[in-house]
Amino acid sequence: MEALQAKELTLAYGEALIIDRLHLTIPKGKVTVLIGANGCGKSTLLRALARLLKPTGGAVLLDGKEIAKQPTKEIARRLAILPQSPTAPEGLTVLQLVKQGRYPYQTWLKQWSEEDERAVARALAATGLTELAERPVDSLSGGQRQRAWIAMTLAQETDIILLDEPTTYLDLAHQIDILDLLFELNEKEQRTIVMVLHDLNLACRYAHHLVAIRDKTVYAEGKPEHVISRQLVKDVFQMDCQITYDPLFGTPLCIPYGKGRHILQKEGVS
C-alpha cells in the first residue's frame, strides 16, 4: 500500500534543476527516511511531497490522485509537514501554537469544537507538554520547542507526517527523544512518517524504508540492512567507511574513515 507517490517528478528553483524525473513510492504505515549529501535535493523533494513546491514536471500523488488538484485544506487533514527550524511569533504559548494544528478543521463560526479540544489535549499529552501548555514557545529549550512543533502537527490528526530534519540543533539525548516519539506514533497509531535525517546511523535504526538521493534522483531504496553498503556511502556521500552492526539494535552502523587519534593497536584493526 502506498501513501504518497512521486511520478516523473521534476523540481527546479528557477533555472537550477534539483530533481529530475524521479519515481518514488512512500509505503503506508511505515517510517521512511530520506538521506543524501548536503544540497542533493532531499529537502526540496520533501517540500514537493507536501505541495509546498510546485513541480516543473510530473506529479505527486496522494491516495492515487494528483496533489496539486486537490483542495489544500483537505490535504491538510491527511498530510502534515514540519519544515526545518520553524520560528514561532514572539510570546506565542505552546497551547496557542498547538491549536494552529486545528486550522484545517475550522470555519468562520466553528473555531474551537470539542474535537479540536480533544485533539489538542491528545497532542500535548503525546509530546509530554501538558504541563508546559501556558509557557511561551520562545522560552522553551530546543528539545521542548521541537516537541511543541511536533505537537502542532499531531493536532492536525493526519495519517501522514512529513518532517524536515526534526533533530537539527538538538543534542544526542534530545535527538533520540524526538525520534522515539515519532517511532512510537508509527507503532501505536500506524501513522506514515517521512523525514529527512542527517545522521545515517539513526536513520538506519528508525527507518523501515530508506531512500538515498543522488544525481537528482533516487539512487537506492529499501530496508536499511539491504541498502546500506560501503559502496552506497561512497557514492552518495563521497566518503569511505566501514559498515558494521549496531551492537544494541543490529541495524547497520557506518564508521567513517578520516583523520583522528588512533588508540587501538595496529594489529587490533582488521
Binding site: A76, R77, P83, P86, L92, Q96, K99, Q100, Y103, P104
Partner: protein, 350 residues
C-alpha cells in the same frame, strides 16, 4: 483549562478566548470610555465626565447636550474610530509580514490614501470650498489610493518572497513619493483648498461632523468585525508561508484579502481624520506586549489602544495651547517617531 472561555452552540458554532486577554481588553475599553467622556467634556465650556455621560444619555442641562452632541461628539468619535482603524490595519500588516516595523504609514499606504484624498479634493471642489460630489466618495478614493500604494510597494519589494527590511525601505520610498505628490497637488490645485488640506494631511479631526460619523462608524466597525472573524488566518500566516500552506491555508488569496482589509481600514481613517501617523505602528506593538501574539486577542487590544492614542492626541491638541488647535497627528508623530527608531534599533540587534 479554566484560563479560557469556551463558547459552544451545537456543532457549528464554537469559540475560544483567553481570559487574561479578555480582562486586558475590558480594562482598555473602560479606559477608552473614560477618556471619551473627558474628551467630550473638555473645551471652552468644561463639563465633568459624569455630566457628560448624563448629557449623552439625554438628561442634564440642555446647554451641555447641545455643546456635546452638536460640536464635540462627532470629532471625538471620528478620532476614536480613526485610531481603531489605523491600529487594526497595522496589526494585520505586522502579522502578515511577521515584522513589527510594518504599518500603514511606514509602508506608504497612508501616504497613498492621503495623496488620493488631496487629488479628490482638488478635482471635486468649487470656489466656495464645498464639494461638487457627495462626500461618501471620499473614503472610496482613499481606499483606492491606499490599495494602489500597497500594490506598488508589494510589487517593488517582492523578489522570491518578501524580506521585511526591503519592504520597509521600499515603503519609506513610496511614502516620500506620495508626500511629494500630495504637495504637488496642493501647489497646482486651487489655493483656497491648500491651507485646509495642509491641516488635514497632518491629521486632524477638526472639521468632523455627524455626516462623517454616520458613514465612518458602520464602515470601521463592520471591517473590524470581519477582521476579528478572520483572526485565525492571520495566526497561520504568522507561522510563515511553508507552515501556513502545510496547514491548508490558501496563502495567496488570504494575503490579498487581508491586505484589502488593511487598506480599507487605512482609507476609512485617512478619509475622515487625515494622515494621523504612527498609530498603526505603535498600537499593535504595544498590544503584543500586553496580550501576546494570538491575533484574536491582539486585534481588539491594538484597536482600543489606537483609539485611546488618537483621542488622547486630539484632546491634547485642543487643550494645550487653547484656543489654538494643534492637529492630533503632531502628537502621534512626536510619540511615534522615537518609537519607530526604537523598533529599528531593536530589529538591528536581532
Amino acid at each position: 483549562m479554566k484560563k479560557y472561555i469556551t463558547v459552544r452552540m451545537g456543532n457549528y458554532v464554537s469559540f475560544f478566548y483567553d481570559k487574561k486577554a479578555a480582562v486586558v481588553i475590558a480594562a482598555l475599553g473602560a479606559a477608552a470610555v473614560l477618556l471619551f467622556l473627558v474628551s467630550v467634556g473638555s473645551g471652552e465650556m468644561s463639563i465633568s465626565p459624569v455630566e457628560a455621560a448624563t448629557a449623552l444619555l439625554g438628561y442634564g442641562e440642555e446647554i451641555h447636550q447641545t455643546v456635546i452632541l452638536t460640536f464635540r461628539l462627532p470629532r471625538v468619535l471620528v478620532a476614536w474610530l480613526a485610531g481603531m482603524a489605523l491600529a487594526a490595519a497595522g496589526a494585520i500588516l505586522q502579522g502578515m509580514v511577521r515584522n513589527p516595523l510594518a504599518s500603514p504609514d511606514v509602508l506608504g499606504i497612508t501616504g497613498g490614501a492621503a495623496a488620493a484624498v488631496v487629488a479628490f479634493l482638488a478635482l471635486f471642489s468649487d470656489e466656495n470650498n464645498s464639494l461638487t460630489v457627495s462626500i461618501h466618495w471620499l473614503p472610496l478614493a482613499a481606499f483606492l489610493g491606499a490599495t494602489a500604494a500597497a500594490w506598488v510597494v508589494y510589487m517593488l519589494a517582492w523578489k522570491n518572497g518578501l524580506v521585511p527590511l526591503r519592504l520597509v525601505l521600499v515603503g519609506i520610498g513610496i511614502s516620500a513619493l506620495m508626500q511629494a505628490l500630495t504637495t504637488l497637488l496642493m501647489i497646482v490645485g486651487p489655493i483656497y483648498r491648500a491651507n485646509q488640506a495642509n491641516v488635514w494631511i497632518t491629521g486632524s479631526v477638526y472639521g468632523a461632523s455627524w455626516q462623517h460619523v454616520s458613514f465612518m462608524a458602520p464602515l470601521v466597525v463592520g471591517l473590524l468585525l470581519v477582521v476579528m472573524l478572520a483572526a485565525r488566518h492571520v495566526n497561520v500566516q504568522e507561522l510563515g508561508d511553508e507552515l501556513a500552506i502545510g496547514l491548508g491555508s490558501a496563502v495567496e488569496r488570504q494575503r490579498l484579502g487581508l491586505v484589502l482589509l488593511s487598506t480599507a481600514l487605512t482609507g476609512g481613517a485617512v478619509a475622515f481624520a487625515g494622515g494621523i501617523g504612527f498609530v498603526g505602528l505603535m498600537a499593535p506593538h504595544m498590544a503584543r506586549r500586553l496580550v501576546g501574539s494570538a491575533f484574536g486577542a491582539l486585534l481588539p487590544t491594538a484597536a482600543l489602544l489606537g483609539g485611546v492614542l488618537v483621542m488622547g492626541a486630539d484632546l491634547a491638541g485642543r487643550m494645550l495651547l487653547a484656543p489654538t488647535e494643534i492637529p492630533a497627528g503632531v502628537f502621534t508623530a512626536a510619540l511615534g517617531a522615537p518609537y519607530f527608531i526604537y523598533l529599528l534599533y531593536r530589529s538591528r540587534k536581532t
